[in-house]
């Protein structure tokens, strides 16, 4: 009799109270309401597909759509113009049989060049933001999780000596540099000895000085963020890119290395609040190591704001790359990017406006779609914002 009631009670508890949705379904239900964000996502996927197809069609020594084929007979043809078949050599005839976006001042097919450029924009956006997010999660995670630990005098000494030694070595002072490096290595050795000394005699003055706490890790990381924020970002990127050899990889790395500060701040703030929550305390009580707590329990909970800022970061990285190649930095000339198509076309702005408008509108649409998609994500992932609408 009693068993039966308990069973029925349990049964009542186990029965679903409301139609259950998975996280993804719930996300999709909320996201679908935002029409601008949906449009952003559609263009986002289209751009992704186009960039990959474009990469396949324009690469190699004999590409299907050749972005570098010069046809001076067919220069500055407007969009949707047909090629001049009588004056073209057989191998020069475009495979599509039509210039969808016209041709530029050297008679190169703008459509093929746009496809080639889309791959550059896509990779710059994703790689630069990938670098920025990795650095941001790493530094923000350290500052948030280990923030209240302090750097000890010994560690500070060893680090300072090693860095100064390396700096002197780079500035060609081999003798002084190697001496400092050896001193730094000696510090690491001494700190091992000090550990033993501290165990033997906890009141030894030298050991206590060696273990004297200086700055907290949080202070160090966040001051570093402040220092990086003092640089005017586009100017810094321009300086570094101009000094380094021209290559698309340098641009990706430089944009990534100069845009991680926002992510660091987000991740730190999230980690500071997550660290105090019960599930983290429970995980620690279960004896999980820090590594597992951070990667299995905290990062999945902190990833929402990072995802949003990454999506918007891709948009601004694409804009920055376009600006740089507009100024003539970045990919060396025969390779097309959207920025340098526009930059080459600006001389013909009144005679051949398509050379300005095609890449300009393409950049606008892609950046706009990333921004809208990112804002839509922010609305869905942040419950506080959701209620207000």
């Amino acid at each position: 009799m009693e068993n039966a009631t308990i069973n029925s009670q349990n049964k009542g508890l186990e029965e679903p109270l409301a139609p259950k949705r998975t996280r993804l379904e719930e996300f999709w239900r909320l996201f679908r309401k935002n029409r601008l964000a949906i449009a952003g996502m559609v263009f986002f996927i289209l751009f992704f597909a186009l960039a990959i197809i474009g990469f396949g069609l324009t690469r190699g020594s004999a590409p299907i759509l050749n972005p570098a084929m010069v046809r001076l007979q067919d220069k500055l043809r407007p969009p949707l113009a047909l090629p001049n078949l009588e004056r073209l050599q057989p191998h020069e005839v475009p495979k599509l049989g039509i210039y969808i976006f016209g041709t530029d001042d050297l008679g190169r097919d703008v459509f093929a060049r746009m496809l080639q450029g889309s791959w550059v924009s896509l990779t710059v956006g994703f790689v630069a933001v990938g670098i920025a997010v990795l650095i941001g999660i790493f530094l923000g995670g350290i500052a948030g999780y280990y923030g209240n630990r302090h750097i000890r005098v010994g560690q500070l000494l060893a680090g300072a000596l090693l860095i100064m030694g390396a700096a002197l070595l780079i500035s060609r002072l081999l003798w002084a540099g190697s001496v400092l490096l050896i001193c730094g290595a000696a510090c690491i050795f001494i700190s091992r000895q000090m550990k033993k000394a501290l165990k033997r005699d906890p009141r030894s003055a030298a050991a206590r000085l060696w273990y004297f706490k200086t700055l907290s890790i949080d202070t160090v990381v966040m001051r570093f963020v402040d220092i990086m924020l003092c640089f005017p970002s586009f100017f810094l990127i321009l300086t570094v890119v101009a000094l380094l050899p021209a290559s698309i990889y340098n641009i990706m790395i430089v944009i990534g290395l100069t845009s991680w500060m926002g992510t660091t701040r987000f991740v730190r703030a999230e980690f500071l609040s997550l660290r105090e929550q019960d599930f983290v305390a429970a995980a620690r009580a279960l004896g999980l190591n820090n590594f597992r707590i951070i990667f299995r329990h905290m990062i999945p909970n902190a990833v929402a704001p990072v995802l949003v800022s990454a999506t918007i970061g891709i948009a601004s990285a694409i804009l920055t790359e376009a600006g740089l190649s507009f100024l003539g930095f970045g990919v060396p000339p025969p390779h097309a990017t959207w920025g340098n198509i526009l930059s080459d076309g600006k001389r013909f702005i009144f005679d051949a406006p398509w050379l300005t408008f095609v890449p300009g509108i393409a950049i606008l649409i892609v950046v706009l779609s990333f921004n809208l998609f990112g804002e839509g994500l922010r609305d869905v992932l942040n419950p506080k914002l959701r209620e207000r609408h």
Binding site: L36, A167, L168, I170, S171, R172, L173, R223, D226, I227, L229, C230, F231, P232, F234, F235, L236, L238, T239, V240, A242, L243, L244, P245, A315, L319, A322, G323, F326, L327, L342, S343, K346, I349, F350, P353, T356, P359, G360, I361, I363, L364, V367, L368, N371, L372, E375, R388, H389
Partner: protein, 319 residues
């Protein structure tokens, strides 16, 4: 209060010291040297390069170069490697050219974004709000150089006025009014372009601040008392929503020295951004480093001022 000021000044000086080190290292550790900028020039013999390196301490170790550079900077004796002009004089000349752009751009930003943002917040969800939202996304996403060309085509085709440069060539001795109009036309486009992103971002921010305040209890109370809607929106809500913007006055300061490289190149405007760009191309390290240092100082002063203003304005914050 005093201790807060003292602490933050010390902190900012330390930050500035590290900024100076980092920027110096970035410039000097990059591959290539300023003495190799023009290797094909027959005048650049080996002896010339050696003399150049000795003259500008480039043959010294890095830490000595650092000390030399910042000693010169603080005594105001830094000279440009390109033309031996004092750096501060060059920067000051270009600064005076950039200043009108900055002033007009800032005025445009603040006068346009506030009415737009407040109106979208009051009529939230309506057609005005949604189109303002979409336009602000559009303005954030449009590449500055593309927008510049659209505006140039539009203005040149419809108003038939020249817009490139600071003034039309050969306008030197025309009458006052025509000349003033010419200057205004030349000023308008670049400063509008400089303000676009600002307008888009700031109007969104104004909107979200207004929404935040409009949801507060005292605004509901004011409405329930039967006050006129204008009084509720502009007296009770807006005054409280303005609080964060007071602090933003400090944050415009770094824009003084920024100057957009791209827009100034398109409009052939001899401002700071263009000078920075030319200095980068010529590897004129003193100008690059000085600009960097000055802008870091402005950023730090700006954050300091905004912290102070927040203290003064918001009675909830007492240290």
């Amino acid at each position: 209060m005093i201790s807060f000021i003292g602490r933050s000044i010390v902190q900012k000086i330390i930050t500035l010291f590290f900024v100076s080190i980092v920027s110096f290292l970035i410039i000097h550790l990059a591959p290539g040297e300023p003495s190799q900028v023009d290797p094909l020039n027959p005048k650049f013999t080996r002896e010339m390069v050696e003399r150049f390196r000795a003259e500008f301490h480039l043959d010294k170790p890095l830490y000595q170069q650092y000390l030399y550079f910042y000693r010169d900077l603080f005594s105001g004796k830094t000279i440009s490697w390109k033309d031996n002009q004092p750096v501060f004089k060059k920067i000051w000349e270009r600064f005076l050219n950039s200043l009108p752009l900055f002033v007009v751009g800032t005025i445009l930003t603040w006068t346009i974004s506030f009415p737009v943002g407040i109106r979208s917040a009051i009529f939230r969800g309506g057609i005005y709000d949604r189109s303002a939202t979409f336009f602000s996304y559009l303005l954030i996403s449009i590449p500055g150089f593309f927008f510049a060309y659209i505006l140039i085509i539009f203005v040149v085709n419809h108003f038939h006025v020249p817009v490139i440069g600071m003034e039309t060539f050969g306008m030197g001795d025309t009458a006052g009014f025509n000349r003033a109009m010419d200057r205004i036309w030349h000023l308008l486009l670049p400063s509008l372009l400089g303000a676009t992103a600002g307008i888009a971002v700031l109007s969104r921010y104004v909107r979200s601040q207004m929404l935040e305040v409009e949801g507060q209890d005292y605004v509901r109370t004011a409405k329930a008392k039967g006050l006129a809607p204008d009084q509720v929106h502009y007296k009770h809500a807006l005054r409280n929503a303005l609080l964060p913007f007071v602090t933003m006055f400090g944050l415009i300061l770094p824009g003084l020295i920024g100057g957009s490289v791209i827009i100034e190149s398109i409009f052939a405007w001899p401002g700071m951004g263009r000078m920075a760009y030319e200095a980068i191309l010529a590897r004129d390290y003193p100008i690059i480093l000085t600009l960097n240092f000055v802008s870091a100082v402005l950023v730090l002063i700006g954050t300091f001022i905004s912290d102070l203003l927040y203290l003064l304005v918001d009675p909830r914050i007492r240290l």
